[in-house]
């Protein structure tokens, strides 16, 4: 059985279609394994080799990975929710209620999106604190630290823009209060509030603007920055591991 599977796989690898997709042969030596990672669009920003220490739970508590997994969950559930949600004042609240009470699995997806969002803010903050206390902002990691701070802000903006979309009392007053905080900024404050809301009140325009920010602009920015963030982890020489660990004394 195993031999037939092996031979089938071997035959498959000889086919023209396989060879057209996977440009290299089997990854059976260290060199070809490295090449397999380098030559793959989805893997090339991951390290070819990692130190075993940096894979330990206490090195990172996998907080960055958890944040990313939550982002993927939010991306998928968010797209699914978009199939039932109209970003317009007469529909938005009813669509949200429909998702809760009428749509099959709607309440599951909505709550998954909501809870994953809460958890992501928590995970991203925890990730930042952990990196900070391990000195992850020091050279050569300064740039990636800065990217991480922007990613934290993007996470918060995503939360805030998503908060308006249910179009209930909580959403309305949260955005009323939040945008009034913006207008406290000297000189440009009320201008920025006007642009953000597309008017003087939290109305139709504000809902649409927050929707576009929430589902297009901010996720695109987050995606780009996450790519840079992951790639730089590898380029900066992996996770910061305590010097004691580096010496192998522990």
């Amino acid at each position: 059985m195993a031999s037939t599977f092996d031979s089938t796989l071997r035959n498959l690898r000889e086919t023209r279609v396989w060879k057209s997709i996977f440009r290299r042969g089997p990854a059976n030596t260290n060199r070809t394994r490295s090449l397999a990672v380098f030559g793959n669009l989805f893997l090339h920003w991951l390290p070819v080799k990692v130190r075993e220490k940096s894979l330990r739970l206490r090195a990172s508590y996998y907080l960055g990975s958890i944040s990313f997994i939550l982002f993927v969950v939010l991306f998928v559930t968010g797209i699914l929710l978009m199939f039932y949600y109209h970003p317009a004042a007469p529909h938005a609240y009813r669509d949200m209620k429909d998702l809760q009470f009428v749509v099959s699995s709607g309440v599951f997806l909505r709550n998954l999106h909501r809870l994953a969002a809460h958890l992501m803010v928590f995970a991203v903050f925890w990730h930042m604190f952990h990196v900070f206390y391990r000195g992850g902002y020091k050279p050569p990691h300064e740039f990636n630290w800065a990217v991480g701070v922007v990613l934290l802000l993007v996470t918060l903006f995503l939360s805030y823009t998503g908060y308006l979309l249910p179009w209930d009392q909580l959403a309305f007053w949260a955005v009323t209060v939040g945008t009034n905080i913006i207008s406290a900024m000297p000189v440009v404050g009320s201008k920025i509030r006007f642009l953000l809301l597309g008017g003087n009140i939290v109305g139709e325009n504000a809902l649409l603007r927050f929707y576009v920010l929430h589902v297009v602009i901010l996720p695109l920015v987050a995606f780009l920055l996450i790519g840079i963030h992951f790639w730089r982890v590898q380029k900066d020489g992996g996770l910061t591991v305590k010097r004691k660990d580096d010496d192998g004394k522990e």
């Binding site: 007053w173 209060v177 009034n180 905080i181 642009l195 597309g198 008017g199 003087n200 109305g203 139709e204």
Partner: protein, 169 residues
Amino acid sequence: MSDTKDSFVSEAAHTVPGDKEINRRDFLNEITMGALGIAGLGSVVVTYQYFAPNVLFEPSTTFRAGNPDLYPIHSVTFLQDQQVYIVRMPEGFYAVSAVCTHLGCVTQWKADADMIACPCHGSKFKADGTKIEGPAPRPLPHFAISLTADGELLVDKLQNIKPAQVLKV
């Protein structure tokens, strides 16, 4: 070759001190960068203009508050749709904003405590809008109030007036 060099030097000697010679490459570079700068600035302006709506479908800021006789003397009436208090005192009428000057929550008139209270962060005001306590930075503004030709109260929420200006009916 030496001729052109000589003429270049002599030409440079004739120029006013501080006036730089410019060759074709620098000239074209500066023209191009200048044009790109102007185009970039222009695109920032039109982008701003695009995102600032010219027509707003928002409720009118001027409204009629009905006949003055609807409001008894010594009363504070909250008009929920307009988020305005119509206050009638013996000296006359005034219209006070119900939107808290702290972060924009809608306040409530507490008749038993004789004050206006904000549910969000606990600011408290007198019926004439002056602050009693809380984080609100300013008193509640007074709006322009007048009588229409047919004798109804007319409030303009875009026009703030001094608290001393009271409409006598």
